[in-house]
Symmetry: D3
């Protein structure tokens, strides 16, 4: 069995692409892909990406707000791309983008995106374990890395693990708007 490594890894080492054809059972009665099915695919591609980066089994800890602006139809081809943005002790944040086009490749568009957080789990005693750091290289990777701290603070507030008054980044953000 391969040895698990905690050496920092580049984003490209765990980038994961998934392609799905929207089948009749994935859609509602008016032929639109149901939001829940898209979320399931997003979670799957993100979990595979997180597992590769962490070299561990992972469990979904949180999903940030998701908007669904552009409907996807039965018969369309959905492409999902997942990359890690930043690691925090025993968790890693994954950024998922969703693209769609028809079966002929026509009408291509970016549909939506989301941030998922996964905790790495030890195989034997099912407890959280440390994960490797992420090395951002491109400016886009650096932006995702930098903004991850703010998103994490929001998650900690929303899941009740820190008090809003201790949310330094958020308070500064809104204060600056005054």
């Amino acid at each position: 069995m391969a040895e698990r490594s905690l050496q920092p890894k580049k984003v490209s080492e765990s980038r994961t692409v998934m392609t799905e054809m929207v089948l009749p059972n994935d859609a509602n009665a008016i032929g639109n892909l149901m939001g829940g099915n898209l979320m399931r695919w997003m979670d799957t591609v993100a979990a595979i990406c997180a597992g590769r980066h962490c070299e561990a089994h992972v469990v979904t800890a949180a999903v940030d707000h998701i908007s669904f602006q552009r409907p996807i139809q039965v018969g369309e081809i959905v492409t999902l791309e997942a990359v890690v943005t930043r690691a925090f002790n025993t968790s890693v944040e994954v950024y998922v983008q969703v693209f769609s086009s028809d079966i002929k490749g026509h009408n291509p568009r970016r549909c939506n995106h989301a941030y998922f957080t996964f905790v790495a789990i030890d195989d034997t005693n099912r407890t959280p374990i440390e994960v490797p750091a992420v090395i951002p290289l491109s400016s886009e990777e650096q932006d995702l890395y930098d903004s991850a701290a703010r998103r994490r603070e929001i998650r900690l507030i929303l899941s009740g693990r820190i008090k809003p008054k201790d949310a330094t980044e958020m308070r500064r953000f809104f204060a600056e708007l005054e």
Copy 2:
């Protein structure tokens, strides 16, 4: 065919309960229900609830932040309950709670919850249509109704449809913490 009514409706008129048995294919390799499958069930029960309230086909417009704190195992029974909280012109917010227990009814617990937003759609031209108001009766229903405005403001910021500086409720919320 029944006539669609825009009369305000009580929460109880569209309350929806769904029960699912966690099967092997719903779980990851260490036997935990995958987050994406739970989200799919949450979206389904919420969509059915929204469709009943709106008397219309609906599409998922947004899902707020979801935390996953308590893992659910293969073989467990998951119960999902969805209620409408408040309507806004052409959309309705739905509150979903997730409960789990083993097949014998032992180890019952509340696992997590989320807020979904759906837009009601006209059958023929697929455009948003007006939805009935929600009548909150219990104090819990009133609380969900009142807090819906703040959650909606956050969604409008997060989906880029209003600027943070125009988020009156949020700014007041953080200002009060000073």
Copy 3:
């Protein structure tokens, strides 16, 4: 692990509600929900209900006659409700009712019903185990409780475990018609 209790239980303690959306793969070529899929859902909701009452794993022992009078279409919402009617040593009878409406809640109707019998099974040696008694409270619960003895007698005849001439209740039933 929770201790299993053999204290009699009220019907409401194990009542189970399941909601399903009829998807394209659930229907035949003319868009009607296939009877077999409806039976699968009925068995699932009944098994969950029986498991809760018995606080045990259960296996389906018998299904009584089922009629299908009102067709259910793709896109409809099916609600199934299961309640225990009566316990017999190691088995429990469950009454399942099926309701349907379209996605907008229109055209609601009671579609059909059935009685399922489950045997409770010990986890370790897979043998039948004693189950708690059922406490009927409402008059409807009492009717279901009383008629359960006659249904059980029919099942014992039909599965060849008693001879028709020993079917006291049935013979009296037909004799009274003379």
Copy 4:
């Protein structure tokens, strides 16, 4: 498009065999094929058989009592065989037998059986249509043909379409036991 024929048909002309491998998702938490899944397979093979005999789309009208005596395990191979027994105006009764063995063909056994009734439906106006008569040839086919009248009478009582006192065959059956 082929012309539909109402000429009487032999049983062998519509006999249908289906083979299924029991997968993890078909079983409950203790590895037994769930009764509901077996019923779904039984309905499918019976519907295909009925469609072939009637040369028409069919819908399930009734399922007689089913007992489940011998549990079937994950990984086993289930073989289902369906034959028509007799036709009645617009409906046909189908007899389904279920056999099981392990993947190596060992431990073969007959598990259970059931009688399904299907109504033939016209493609365009969805109303019941006349079906061809069944020609029994072997003595087993003749027995199934003869007993079909008694089973039909029971179904008519159980679905409330005739009064027990008008159930001539049933009353004679129980009277003879006196």
Copy 5:
């Protein structure tokens, strides 16, 4: 547990028939059964047939060239028949034929066929094990038996396990054409 036998077996002892109804999710956007779904059914029926002949777990080792000439539509009934043709030490070749008709039994036709090769595997150490010989009886069974040697040689070339120049049967075949 039954003892495994290596006595030669007749073809009829493991012949396997499978019937499938083509559901919406099995087809592409223009309503044709996707080739991949048909291949999955062909592999399943062939694996069950091979398991019965070998009285062992089997794994797919190879699939020969498959042509798809006649499209199959959603709603059609597909019948697959698998028979063993010949055994080679630890493997067995299975011949699968695919037939289709509409739900009424009209428009019946032979769609395509393929040869699958399976290796029998020991339960405990997952290594290949010897399999029983095949006894061909009819002239068709004898033809399939005889031609199996040539098909095997092609497979060994195509999987790189023998060099084309050592393919005695193939070279003779093409040489005779000069």
Copy 6:
């Protein structure tokens, strides 16, 4: 609606990547991914790739010989990559490679590969339509392009559309071995 273009396309324009997690239902009783499920995924990724290149609906016309040398286990992550190799009038050949690793990214390996042929179909009258040429750029793409002619000749022999004696490329290939 986008206009369909018959301009030659580069291989990279339609390259398609699909990632799948092997779930319990995808495997046989000894935990190996069933060959038929892998073939279904290969067909799906290849069909999407072909549809993108042809800007048309496509149907599977043929699959060349596939060997399965390295078993894939439940819980592993399978990555499939499809590229077009060459177009022939109304058909296109697609090369699919399959890679696998465990959920942690360990034990990565190339499992197998196959060549699929698809025919492009007109939306309205379901007849074959002309497809764009493929522009090979890398030496690997050029090799796949060059060898496609020989593979096509084999397919035409195997599907009975040309006589072996007219298989110029094959006869030369075996003649050179003398």
